[in-house]
Symmetry: C2
Subunit: 415 residues, 2 copies
């Protein structure tokens, strides 16, 4: 089944907003075994929207549009759809009721512009948007379907998950069961992984698909399976996931689609341990990544971001002798920072980073990108010197991922 | 002048990569006074790419393509362009030289696949890509231009800024001078701002354009001016920027396009002050935002991320009495955290946050989104209770911005 996406809105073409809806939709469509064939981004302009619909209906079975449904006069998509698919705009009582409900929840006063959002083309079938005021509209034309969704990402996501995708699957008699397995791989390049997995990949049956999804410092392998028989596909996907894990051995760190911070939190919780962080060059990013996970407070006590040597000494108890003899960017200082964080925050585990994120501050001995990372727990203490390429933000990002994964590795090895 | 963008690559249509190039290109094209008319995202498929080029050349003067130029066999764009515009592929010595240079800088061994990237259609004019191996190719057809650029964002950015855009402007005899002024506005909604500026907006001459670029907790107003006469446009744009600033008064916090962290760093540096942060609910995000700015270490000493009450007491000296009587999420605790951060990190200024980022932990008195923020300096100490809507990450983001802007406001008011 071919799917086309049309993203509508001037804001997408003047550089004000990046279209992230397409990525989200593709991530929901692809695992079903359908293909996003192309995307068109057009202005809030009637003839451009019409042209895009013509072209999309010509090359695809399903057309999903996002955006252009706001209450202001620049949003014309609903009128264009009404003209295109026929009928007239009339107020839908269930949509009006939903809009009133949404406004009540947001403690807002309903105005005429918003009430007008309850008018929908008589040619469409409404899917209620329970998290916003713009209705989701489903149009049929000669066996093909166009669904118009709001452009606000969380409204689109909600509509797609709870209304649009299930109905599309039902509409097209899609009886397949969809299963995924994710393996998080570290310590091996994408191309070496591909080489190692070549035999398995070549033997993959057509109901299985393996995707390489590289991130800085981490490779996600996603095995997608689609079949009518649930027991069969679950058995097959597990069998192939095990085979992949067997080939990659210790390079497979984790077999669930978690972030590095989520992995660390899970492992700490499993062993009843607590974590402190001591960050110099990562400047709070590790703490930020951990605290981005809801409910982390039962295992995470906090961080000392020591951006000066004085702070390393006073808050973390790093010795001035170590700083003098090895320099702030050294495995020795990283190790003392980790020990200091455990003392200062009363934990059993710690992660520490000290390095040169650049763009200045590098030396021939310790060029920009040099980062020393230490991880410490009840039964391990490891420090290592790394070199990460790229810009300041990439170095910070990569060092944060590596530090979290280093702790995860030690917690797994000493479980 | 109408510009179409074609983004090429399977990875954009399976949800693996979000196309951010379009936003970047639009942000370079729009201020010149040209329009990005539409965007097409297509697979690495010859007929899809050809169809997109046909359509784009039909509705636009300039077509910019990104991606599909890698060394692997799935990248077919160069062959498609060669077939489309005529000629044959031949090795360009200057491109080969550049590829060797890039590989040498990256300490990599040249292989056959990469050397093949030096082959370009005889029908194109090469613009050297000095930061990567895929050449930028310029094609002319009946007064229209198609430029093919790599999809790697920093290579595209570099090519666009240094080669493509200047040549396009020259090619089309674009003699206009482009000027911008940015005003950062706080404490007033976008719609109230629009209402306040209605008279000025209605009187804007056609060589000036005002864009509203809202961000969580901050509204960026960008005034773009395009004219052949530099002195004239500079005078006019300043005159209108001053008029806008006059109407909005104190709501205009800053008249340069800086991030909140950059504003704070500039103001601290100007007064020779140093900053410490004490973060609870923002969990290191403020520290991360500050340390994302290169060279911040002359004014930023560090942070204590105190995710437990114990850490607030032991590292920041918050009194247990205050915690008991007011609760951890209170203006009183925020104020003591700020004072404690100044003591612990030896600074003159501090920012502190304590709140409930959710999704759980809220109470009727202090619902999810309640955040107390304190800022302290040599001649001010302010604490306030806020309520931010939305999800956990939005609350953290919004609280971080508000905290930084609160300090900026005090530093400006006490300058």
């Amino acid at each position: 089944m071919n799917v086309s996406i049309i993203a509508i809105g001037d804001e997408l073409l003047i550089g004000q907003v990046t279209d992230t809806n397409t990525t989200e939709i593709a991530n929901m469509i692809t695992p079903v075994g359908w293909n996003v064939r192309n995307v068109r981004v057009v202005r809030d302009n009637a003839s451009d929207i019409r042209q895009a619909i013509d072209d999309a209906l010509a090359d695809s079975d399903v057309v999903l549009t996002t955006g252009g449904l706001g209450p202001t006069k620049d949003d014309i998509t609903k009128q264009v759809l009404c003209d295109y698919f026929g009928g007239t705009l009339r107020t839908d009582p269930s949509v009006l009721e939903n809009i009133k409900e949404v406004f009540k929840r947001r403690h807002l006063q309903l105005n005429d512009l918003t009430a007008a959002q309850a008018a929908v083309p008589t040619s469409c079938h409404v899917i209620q948007n329970t998290v916003g005021t713009a209705p989701v509209m489903w149009f049929d034309r000669r066996g093909k379907v166009l669904v118009s969704m709001p452009g606000v990402p969380f409204e689109m996501r909600h509509a797609m998950r709870n209304g649009v995708l299930p109905r599309l699957l039902e509409h097209y008699g899609h009886r397949d069961v969809i299963e995924h397995r994710v393996l998080l791989v570290t310590g091996i390049t994408e191309s070496d992984t591909a080489r190692a997995l070549a035999r398995i990949e070549n033997s993959l049956p057509d109901y299985l698909h393996l995707a390489y999804l590289p991130q800085p410092g981490l490779l996600r392998l996603r095995l997608d399976g689609v079949h009518t028989n649930r027991d069969f596909i679950c058995g097959e996907i597990d069998r192939y996931a095990d085979a992949i894990a067997g080939v990659l051995g210790d390079h497979v760190l984790w077999r669930r689609d978690d972030t590095p911070a989520e992995i660390v939190i899970t492992l700490l919780r499993r062993r009843g341990l607590h974590l402190a962080t001591a960050e110099s060059c990562t400047g709070g990013n590790i703490a930020h990544r951990i605290t981005a996970v809801a409910g982390c407070s039962d295992v995470y006590n906090g961080s000392v971001v020591s951006y000066t040597n004085t702070a390393k000494v006073s808050l973390l108890g790093v010795s001035t002798a170590t700083l003098d003899s090895h320099g702030a960017v050294s495995r020795e200082v990283a190790a003392e920072m980790a020990r200091g964080a455990i003392r200062a925050l009363g934990t059993e585990c710690a992660i520490s980073t000290t390095g040169i994120a650049g763009p200045s501050g590098g030396t021939p001995d310790k060029p920009v990108g040099t980062v020393c990372i230490a991880v410490k727990g009840p039964d391990f203490e490891v420090s290592a010197r790394h070199h990460f390429p790229g810009s300041r933000d990439r170095i910070i990002d990569r060092a944060s991922t590596t530090a979290l994964l280093s702790l995860a590795r030690e917690l797994l090895d000493h479980a």
